[in-house]
Amino acid sequence: MNHTPLWASESFWKKVAIWVTAGSFVLLIVLTFDSMSKVQAGSRRVPAYSVINQKIDYRFDAQLNRYMPVIGGDEPLFDRPLSEAEAEALVTLGKKTTQAKNCINCHTILGNGAYYAPDLTKSWLDPNWIDAGNRENLMLAFLKNPPGNARTYGTGRRMPHLGITDEEARGVIAFLKWMSAIDTNGFPHNFKTLYAQEE
């Protein structure tokens, strides 16, 4: 009556708990090393920052059965080609600005964040900008004066004044353009880019 079988004993489960935890963690570390090597800027999944010099699109890939970024010919941001170092500096300024302005507590970035405002993952490619040629200027004007250029689509939700400078706004646009070229395994699905609408 008093003997607990080994497989139900405290000491057995203590060992199981330790081995399971250690095993899972080691596996996670191995996977993390692998993932990190595959998502460095300049990898197949996450392009180099200088991708902002090129045309980016997002199309359905029948072979993979999902949407994929498509990197095309030259289309430099603000008509000024940047070196890799310049591009990285500009994207860095943009990324730091998105953090400093707390963008993620209204918007989502790669689908993570708050749901009060639209997802920014592919915002560079959004058909809302209508004309690819004028897109940078529209974005620049909007970021520098969001309430003045608000398009609320009838919701009444406006982006507040965040004091974004001209340089910061250019950085944010570079960051958004670079982000739209990341291979996100087909998220968002069924997204028709501004180029697709033009056709």
Partner: protein
């Protein structure tokens, strides 16, 4: 000008009023943590309410305290009050569990005031300064701008320092007194808790790398280390509350650790579907998502086993009631709501919609808020001098019963409203419109969505009413009660086990 010294004296005096001679040193410190936790809980609901109002009337407080600020304070207050609850609970049982006095109680006191002061400053900066220029100084001093861990870097370092003091007190006190299964698991879990926080303390321009490590903090805290921390607190509580036996409680704590960490650590994979990471995470995330309900199944079987074999006997009905709410809330919030949208085939559409908000509201409430509230009641009982809190309370216990009803109804109502909004959003915005901005706003304007947001606000008010009643009850329950609670001891017939220690 405010005299800072006089102010800090006044604050100390106010907290001093909470001291009771029935309490040991650790418990006196714990009561301070609980007091601040309750204040932050109310702050969480208040700012949640402001954000909910803005969903209905976007002009409300526009350009003054915007949605981003309210939502950030809402969630930060939640994270911090839960941590305060956990830290307080550990300080509460530290001396009894170790059989000795806390090694650095004075340091623990200082750490409490430092942490609380830092929290106040961070919140004031959030509210008054809000944002800064896009440079490193903003991230160090104002706002890091990463969801849930927005606290500026100086505060991160402060938090880690305070956690080290806490860790020193826990490990040192057990080392001086005695170790047990619970204390061993607890100590190792705290190492993981502090270590994982540091995974979120660096900057990366590469947004994929940024979010990869960000999830380490968020997921591995919430779905691994917090769960185990709660498991330790529950294990100890169940010995106190229903006289469960140590050997059995500890065996099940280990089983829980094995199940939790076994399914939870690699369950991290379900956050790596769409952030730029390789697609083998589909396989891993899918598998471990299917595994995550297993601990819940174990909980169901164990609860039935205990209910069938033993009769429950409790001298603290509110605490037991909240533990039962924990079981149900956790099962629905983490289990049902989690699994409904976790597989990549459907998550492609639900990712980044109100689905996540629905799941988040119920699972945080079910898994963590309930258990903290249960512990507050255990503490209130001892604070009053270990008085009776079982059946037939003076006023029939209407306050705890009604606060429990209102809180559960409020959270459940918000969850269902957000579920409807999320369903509609994943349908219209994601699937039909392909997640363009036009699609986003089309979904936001849909009558189902608009009405869901209104209902969410209504149930948010219900939740706040419940929390106010809860606060009132915690402050008054047991006052003037003269009957003493029996001290439970495991006995042949009545011993009961950690029905819910495997609840996650």
């Amino acid at each position: 000008m405010l005299n800072i010294a006089a102010l800090s004296g006044k604050i100390q005096e106010a907290f001093g009023a909470l001291d009771r001679h029935h309490l040991n040193g650790g418990q006196r410190l714990a009561v301070k943590y609980f007091a601040v936790a309750m204040i932050l809980f109310l702050a969480q609901l208040l700012f949640g309410l402001l954000a909910a109002i803005q969903f209905v009337w976007p002009g409300f407080l526009f350009d003054l305290v915007d949605f981003s600020v309210n939502r950030m304070v809402h969630i930060n207050a939640m994270v911090v009050w839960m941590l305060y609850g956990f830290i307080g609970s550990v300080y509460w049982f530290l001396e009894e569990e170790s059989g000795t006095e806390i090694v650095g109680l004075k340091w623990g006191e200082i750490a409490f005031y430092v942490l609380t002061g830092a929290v106040v400053i961070v919140v004031l900066v959030y509210l008054l300064i809000q944002t800064g220029p896009g440079n490193d100084a903003t991230r160090w001093l104002v706002n890091e701008g990463r969801e849930y861990i927005e606290a500026p870097r100086w505060a991160d370092i402060g938090i880690v320092t305070v956690m080290l003091v806490f860790f020193y007190n826990v490990a040192g006190t057990f080392a001086k007194g005695r170790w047990s299964g619970i204390s061993g698991v607890l100590t190792l879990d705290l190492v993981a808790l502090a270590g994982l926080y540091m995974a979120g303390m660096f900057y990366s321009t590469n947004v994929t790398v940024d979010q990869y490590w960000w999830w380490w903090v968020i997921h591995l805290w919430v779905e691994a280390t917090w769960e185990v921390l709660v498991g330790c607190i529950m294990a100890w509580s169940l010995m106190k509350l229903i006289g469960a036996r140590r050997r059995i409680v500890q065996t099940w704590l280990y089983i829980e650790v094995a199940l939790m960490f076994g399914s939870g650590i690699l369950g991290l994979g379900h956050h790596y579907f769409w952030i730029g990471t390789p697609d083998y995470w589909f396989t891993i995330g899918g598998f471990f998502s299917a595994l995550e309900p297993v601990p819940l199944v174990a909980m169901v079987v164990h609860s039935i086993y205990d209910a069938g074999v033993h009769r429950f006997r409790s001298t603290n009905h509110p605490a037991l009631g909240w533990i039962i709410a924990h079981t149900f809330g956790n099962f629905l919030g983490a289990g049902v709501w989690g699994f409904m949208h976790t597989l990549p085939q459907i998550n492609l559409y639900t990712h980044g919609t109100q689905w996540s908000a629905s799941h988040g509201h119920l699972s945080f409430f079910g898994a963590y808020a309930t258990i903290n509230i249960a512990f507050f009641y255990l503490a209130a009982q001892r604070w009053r001098g270990n008085v009776w809190m079982g059946g037939d309370l003076k006023d029939n216990g209407w306050k705890w019963k009604w606060s429990m009803i209102l809180l559960n109804l409020g959270v459940m109502g918000m969850t269902v409203a957000l579920l409807i909004a999320g369903y509609e959003q994943s349908f219209i915005e994601r699937a039909v419109e392909g997640s363009t901005w036009g699609g986003y706003f089309a979904a936001q304007n849909q009558p189902w969505f608009v009405q869901a947001m209104l209902w969410r606000l209504v149930f948010g008010v219900v939740t706040l009413a419940g929390a106010l009643l809860l606060t009132w009850d915690l402050l008054t329950i047991g006052a003037g009660e003269t009957r003493l609670a029996l001290v439970l001891e495991p006995e042949e017939e009545l011993a009961a086990e950690p029905t819910v220690a495997v609840a996650k």
